[in-house]
């Protein structure tokens, strides 16, 4: 592990600067914004999952305060296309036209002085709907003759994909294990919901949109396309964001509606998503179904993996990631960190009458990891081998790095077997297995579960250009400038939604300039003040914006050094920048003195001074843009009560490798937060629908999230294998914490229940599902006896 070179630079466990305001309740979120004359908007939403709209009756006295699609002159539907061959385009009208395709779809917007009054108005709008059969099951939706979500498609498949790499060669393997594995539809649950406050600023001729967004520049492009405004006529300001996880990467119809309406009525407007809207109408994610077969030798060596995977993409393609990103990604990332010779994966992105599926922390990886790691445990059980034995047989080895896997993913560095071994040590696997044999006095059963994953992060142009979606990341840019009093301002186009960027990017700057973190400010979350960026997604910001900040600061350092040399009456080649000072052969000056001279005493500088001054915008890409590969091994011990199905996590160990860590404390926070979400996927979170497509959870009493008592404090071990391709060797780690837990926990539960004959293959593993299986096995034994 590399020692930090200073107290505040790369590698320092620095408390987060932003926490001073956030922990005191002084953050400024969307709901904190007030504007004179601001009105609230409430939406009339579809009560049905699939229906033709016969008529919308707006009471006479509400005319001019309630608006429907018929009023939206010049507004285009949201189109999130993909360039992948065969992709079928959905057009999502921002207010429904013709028919509604999901519960919660927007039909009309109502504007009033308060949200309560706007909701009163919404309640008086009468809908005349002709109910159509609704698709709530993606497997049914793929069958011939199914109701069509988009009639002109002819079927309900956004995109079908197939990868086949010599699967036939695996068919003669001596062992074949097949399983049907699935993950439930979930709802991302940032503490803060979505929200938008808009007004039109006539002086700047700009629609000013305050919105809780991870990707302000992408929202601007999307809004521009839908509203028919020049991009320069739109300014997106994203204030403090209370968690995003992917949900706040999406352009919502609500944003477009408010952007149109504020110009129509000439007043500032606000829409704050409430938890019911959030749960039932929007933030859905994760629903995967796998038919997976592993072919192997008797010693556990994998010969091949054959898989059919479906993802329930919902009714529309969400902007900008599209409806097929997730399923098509499944095919390319299912092999995970394993090296094997034969592979086939067919995927379907299926349209149903449910909310669009949105990318949630880990995106397809959580489902893929669940499917493969749970299947690997089934294989290990079939072979009578310990789960780590099968994994160690097949994991990519350190001497293979850099490694191109079967789907041409380029692994930059790492030692995966070592991470697994360290995780087994940390969880004390031997002791756990002894305890397991001894049995528990309370009748519960102990289980040990493992999972391991790799996370491609900060993947860039070469990866995304092939998807053909509305955005492709290129060079990431950052601005760095000294203020006249010698402080530092950094500008980035990505946005923090809780990651601590104000601290970590200041640490990067400190590493180059020696500038105290306290004197560095991060300007972000405003398209008017920051360079273009695709934003915060794909675990990319530390790699991309971090690299850009380092590049800009390096150029700034050079300019500081040259001015400093002049002030020291030394040759430029004889001075160096060190700990915030320009040091020459016979003296030194501070960065503050350099800034003061440049801005306030230019008369002291020579005529031929570099006119570019102390403000730099620089661009950055890693040496290779195929992404960094961070990874982790998770090991967990659970106690399962077979009669009630209750699961208690007794111990949890994570050994991760995120390359060089800029701030290990921030990384720990990311991992613990991800773990909490992974525990939610594993045991609690499920957005269920009934046969008519009605979502069955509309409050957090029905949609269960893990709370503090359900989340253990994990052991976290860091390996730090630098990436050879990035500045400082950093790798993206933002999503990893949420990827491995569902598989590890399900494997632990299965380890506990295997002697009883039960095997849990669907997340979340609920008490009900456990008891059902345990009782079914018991009943089978009774009838057999």
């Amino acid at each position: 592990m590399s020692e930090p070179r200073s107290q505040e630079g790369v590698g320092a466990r620095l408390p987060r600067k932003e926490d001073d305001r956030l922990m005191r309740g002084r953050g400024q979120f969307i709901a904190d914004i007030r504007m004179a004359g601001m009105q609230d908007v409430a939406f009339v939403r579809s009560p049905l999952a699939h229906a033709r709209i016969r008529a919308i009756h707006v009471p006479e006295d509400l005319k001019g305060r309630v608006f429907t699609a018929a009023d939206l002159d010049g507004v285009k539907p949201i189109r999130a296309v993909s360039g992948l061959p065969g992709f079928k385009v959905s057009e999502q009208p921002v207010l429904a036209t013709g028919k509604v395709r999901q519960v919660g779809e927007l039909i009309a917007m109502c504007v009033a002085d308060t949200r309560a009054e706007a909701e009163d108005m919404a309640a008086r709008v009468e809908l005349d709907l002709e109910e159509l059969p609704a698709l709530h099951d993606m497997l049914d939706a793929r069958k011939p003759g199914a109701t069509l979500v988009h009639e002109h498609w002819g079927d309900n498949v956004f995109l079908e994909s197939l990868v086949n790499i010599n699967i036939e060669a695996a068919f003669d393997a001596p062992v074949k294990v097949s399983r049907t594995i699935s993950t439930a539809r979930q709802c991302m649950a940032p503490i803060e919901g979505r929200g938008t406050v808009v007004h039109f600023d006539h002086r700047s001729d700009q629609l000013v949109v305050h919105t809780a967004s991870q990707m302000p520049h992408i929202v601007r492009s999307g809004l521009s396309e839908c509203l028919g405004l020049e991009e320069g006529q739109i300014r997106i300001i994203s204030p403090d964001v209370g968690g995003g996880f992917g949900y706040k990467a999406i352009l919502l119809s609500e944003d477009v509606c408010l952007g149109w309406l504020t110009r129509k009525i000439g007043r500032p407007l606000r829409w704050l998503e409430d938890r019911r809207e959030h749960l039932t109408a929007s933030a859905n994610c994760r629903e995967h179904h796998y038919e997976i077969t592993l072919y192997a030798e008797r010693d556990g060596t994998l010969r091949g993996i054959d898989c059919e995977a479906s993802v329930d993409s919902g009714a529309y393609s969400a902007y900008p990631f599209s409806a097929c990103l997730e399923a098509a990604q499944v095919a390319s990332i299912l092999p995970g960190p394993y090296d094997f010779p034969s592979y086939r994966c067919r995927t379907w992105s299926v349209a149903t009458n449910k909310c669009p599926i949105l990318p949630y922390r880990g995106v397809a990886r959580t489902g893929v990891c669940f499917a493969l790691e749970v299947a690997l445990d089934a294989l290990a059980a079939e072979l009578g081998l310990a789960p780590e034995v099968v994994r160690l047989k097949n994991l990519v080895r350190p001497e293979q790095m850099p490694f191109d896997n079967i789907t041409n993913k380029h692994f930059d560095s790492g030692n995966y077997p070592e991470a697994l071994r360290q995780a087994l040590d940390a969880i004390k696997a031997d002791a756990v297995r002894k305890r397991q044999l001894a049995g528990e006095p309370d009748g519960r059963r102990i289980g040990l579960g493992l999972s391991i994953y790799c996370e491609q992060a900060a993947h860039g142009t070469s990866v995304y250009s092939g998807w053909g979606i509305p955005m492709v990341p290129g060079h990431e840019q950052a601005g760095a400038r000294l203020t006249p009093d010698g402080g530092l301002e950094l500008r980035i186009g990505a946005h923090s939604h809780g990651q601590g960027l104000e601290t970590t990017l200041a640490q990067v700057a400190h590493e180059i300039l020696g500038m105290p973190v306290a004197r560095t400010r991060l300007v972000h979350g405003d398209t008017a003040m920051t360079p273009y960026s695709t934003g915060s997604w794909g675990s990319r910001v530390m790699v991309m914006a971090g690299g850009a900040v380092a590049t800009a600061c390096t150029e700034l350092a050079e300019r500081i050094r040259r001015i400093g040399a002049h002030m020291l009456q030394a040759r430029p080649e004889d001075v160096r920048l060190e700990a915030g000072r320009v040091v020459g052969p016979s003296g030194d000056v501070t960065i503050q003195q350099v800034a003061h001279t440049w801005y306030r005493r230019p008369q002291d500088l020579p005529a031929d001074v570099d006119p570019h001054g102390l403000e730099v915008t620089a661009g950055y890409k890693p040496v290779r843009d195929s992404g960094t590969f961070s990874y982790a091994a998770h090991a967990v011990v659970v106690a399962v009560d077979p009669d009630l199905g209750e699961v208690e996590i007794l111990d949890y160990a994570i050994v991760e490798d995120g390359g060089t860590l800029v701030n290990p404390m921030v990384v720990d926070g990311q991992i613990i937060g991800g773990l909490a979400q992974g525990i939610g996927t594993a045991l609690y979170e499920e957005m269920a629908f009934d046969a008519s497509g009605q979502p069955l959870a509309s409050t957090l009493a029905d949609y269960l999230l893990p709370g503090a008592p359900e989340v253990p404090m994990p052991f976290i071990g860091h390996m730090e294998t630098p990436s050879p391709y990035t500045k400082f060797g950093v790798k993206g780690i933002g999503e990893g914490g949420a990827i491995a837990p569902p598989a590890a926990i399900a494997n632990a539960i299965n380890d506990a229940l295997r002697p009883l004959g039960a095997e849990m293959l669907r997340a979340p593993v609920t008490p009900r599902r456990i008891v059902e299986q345990v009782l079914a096995v018991r009943a089978g034994e009774r009838s057999a006896a």
Partner: protein
């Protein structure tokens, strides 16, 4: 979601509250701690014209003791009981139940009377006070009356309260020193409403006991004489004779058709029995 418009009144006396309620008819709703009504208002599942807020009535906060009973004012909060500001009917009986209700923020505001009046079958007070044999005191336009819990709970989210009536107090019998209380609930996470509740109050000294299975989408299934669950007699060895089939048969008779649900309910009751038995320090020697 924000509530539909309503009028709110905050009377100072029970009589005024009753009069206000009567004037409001079907469109009036009582609010105590607001922990259930508040969300229902926001979700517009409840759209009353008038809310009678009881929080200004000091008489409803009092606790008084009579021979053999403690009478809790309807506005005594879960936290009052949890923290010991309100006396317990035995050693760590109600206090333990109170500490397990939802989350502390809910316990700070939620009230015993409000919880019973809301009559959620999965609520702790609904079940704990039923097994303890409590009665409720009711004030209304026609004067005061008392009902045992079994008569008060009319269904899921339904009570015997007539229009204009308010639950003003809960009379809970004191628990004899020779009795033990077992209370177990099955939740998927801390603070969640229970999916099954099992409770017993067993007194081998007198050979008597009550038992209950709750959170069955209906008022709890109460065994006023729990001996039927223990081979017709209650003595120190009761726990070893727990008759799961008798409990299961009662659930079948109550209309629970799902075998998995019944298994869980019986299992939770079994654990309440085991818990109560473990509290007798001399269980083994007595057995």
């Amino acid at each position: 979601m924000k509530p539909a418009p309503f009028r709110i009144e905050r009377p100072r006396t029970i009589a005024d509250a009753v009069a206000l309620l009567a004037s409001g008819g079907d469109g009036a709703k009582v609010m105590a701690g607001g922990q259930s009504l508040g969300p229902m208002l926001n979700l517009r599942l409840a759209t009353p014209d008038l809310i009678v807020d009881l929080s200004g009535i000091d008489d409803l906060r009092t606790v008084r003791e009579e021979a053999g009973h403690i009478i809790y004012g309807a506005l005594v909060t879960h936290a009052d009981v949890e923290d010991g500001r309100a006396p317990d009917v035995g050693t760590n009986i109600l206090r333990r139940v109170a500490g397990g209700i939802a989350y502390r923020a809910v316990r700070n505001r939620g009230t015993m009377g409000g919880s019973l009046s809301h009559a959620d079958p999965a609520a702790d007070w609904v079940n704990a006070l039923s097994v303890l044999g409590a009665e409720v005191e009711i004030a209304g336009p026609a004067g005061e009356r008392r009902l045992p819990m079994g008569a008060f709970l009319a269904g899921a989210l339904a009570t015997a309260l007539e229009p204009g009536e308010i639950l003003v107090a809960v009379r809970v019998p004191k628990v004899p020193a020779t009795a033990r209380f077992g209370y177990v609930k099955h939740c998927r996470k801390v603070g969640e409403f229970a999916h099954a509740i099992g409770a017993v109050l067993i007194d081998p000294a007198t050979g008597t006991g009550r038992a209950l299975m709750g959170a069955i989408d209906a008022p709890p299934l109460v065994f006023a004489d729990a001996a039927t669950l223990f081979g017709s007699r209650i003595d120190a060895g009761f726990a070893s004779r727990f008759d799961a089939s008798a409990a299961n048969a009662a659930l079948v008779a109550a209309g629970l058709t799902d075998a998995v649900d019944r298994h869980v309910h019986v299992e939770v009751l079994r654990r309440a029995v085991t818990q109560a038995a473990s509290l007798f320090t001399d269980t083994r020697s007595a057995a």
